[in-house]
């Protein structure tokens, strides 16, 4: 396999460049992350984030042949012989494939990702029926890898004002949580020209989510809820 990797060390390089590595496919290389590990033994200056190696932490999100994905769950078999690895698009590059996720997390925090319930505390837990709990499926599984938001052109153009698909998916997770009582405030917060409505249903987010989630569907559901409440 020929792997072309985006390289940039701000302490040494004036500008980024692509570096090629020749790696022989081996039986033990199941995932792209395994191949990256072997590149690291060849060249230990090559830098990338990784942690769980099983698709639950989101650390090794990167742009693989133009599409965002997680290196640890991208099989080598699914890749062509020439692979181009770039950092997640739209975010500032710290070094090689490591990006600054500040803007992404700022938007996530802005939607208040916690249950807001100021009613007197119940004796034990807030009760929730199985049907109410089912509504959270497809939303709580988000690992905040940023594959979706960094593939969204609307997020590229306004990362400081548009919440982005990940943030909006999590906003919906709390909006339809039966234990959360701040639905009106959450919907009002998203109802302006930028926070939600920069979304044009481009649907890159749903296409690249490594967990199979559908941020565009969550966004449409928020829009429908807003419409129902306003008429």
């Amino acid at each position: 396999m020929q792997i072309s990797v985006f390289r940039y060390d701000p302490e040494k390089d004036v500008k980024p460049y692509m570096q090629d590595y020749e790696v022989e496919r081996q039986a033990e290389d199941r995932m792209l992350l395994d191949v990256l590990g072997r590149i690291k033994t060849m060249d230990d200056t090559f830098t990338y984030r990784r942690s769980c190696r099983e698709g639950v932490c989101g650390s090794d999100a990167m742009n693989i042949n133009g599409r965002n994905g997680l290196a640890c769950v991208t099989t080598t078999r699914s890749l062509p012989d020439h692979v181009v690895l770039r950092p997640l698009p739209g975010l500032p590059v710290i070094r090689d494939l490591v990006v600054d996720m500040t803007a992404f997390f700022k938007q996530y925090h802005s939607i208040k990702p916690w249950v807001i319930n100021d009613d007197p505390a119940p004796e034990r837990e807030h009760l929730q029926s199985p049907a109410q709990r089912d509504k959270l499926d497809g939303l709580y599984e988000c690992i905040l890898c940023a594959c979706c938001s960094t593939q969204c052109p609307s997020f590229w153009w306004n990362p400081d004002k548009f919440v982005g698909p990940a943030g909006l998916l999590m906003a919906y997770r709390f909006i339809i949580d039966s234990r959360d009582k701040a639905t009106e405030e959450r919907l009002d917060d998203l109802n302006d020209a930028y926070r939600l409505f920069r979304c044009r249903t481009i649907m890159n987010c749903t296409e690249v989510c490594p967990k199979g989630l559908a941020p565009s569907r969550a966004i449409e559901k928020i829009r429908l809820l807003m419409t129902k409440k306003s008429v």
Binding site: S154, W157, N158, D188, L190, N191, D192, A193, Y194, R195, L196, F197, R198, R200, R223, M226, T227, S230
Partner: protein, 112 residues
């Protein structure tokens, strides 16, 4: 100004005006197919008749509102400096108002 004015309402308006314009285009095509005007006078007579002129007015209102939301979206996406953005939106708004005035003049003052 309430934030909601800028969020859900333009989005809904864009879709409602799109549906209306689609129906209008089908209505116009049906008219050309089944009862095409044979002269300029007949065309004028039809457009300026009470019912049809109201439908045409609604169509142009829909068109300019739809255009306002669409081009405003493009400006909000790409024009980041606030002053430049206000200028671009003002230019868009005044252009659309001018065209609305022109359409109003045509529909109100053209002799039948």
């Amino acid at each position: 100004m309430k934030k909601a004015f800028a969020g859900l309402r333009p989005w809904l308006l864009q879709r409602l005006t799109a549906v209306f314009m689609l129906l209008f285009v089908l209505f116009l095509l049906a008219h050309f197919l089944f009862d095409p005007p044979r002269s300029d006078a007949e065309w004028r007579g039809w457009v300026l008749s009470p019912g049809t002129s109201i439908v045409f007015t609604l169509f142009f209102a829909s068109l300019f509102l739809h255009t306002w939301v669409g081009v405003r979206d493009v400006i909000l996406d790409y024009v980041h400096p606030a002053g430049l953005r206000i200028g671009a939106l003002a230019l868009l708004g005044s252009g659309l108002l001018a065209m609305s005035a022109w359409v109003a003049r045509i529909l109100l003052f053209t002799p039948p």
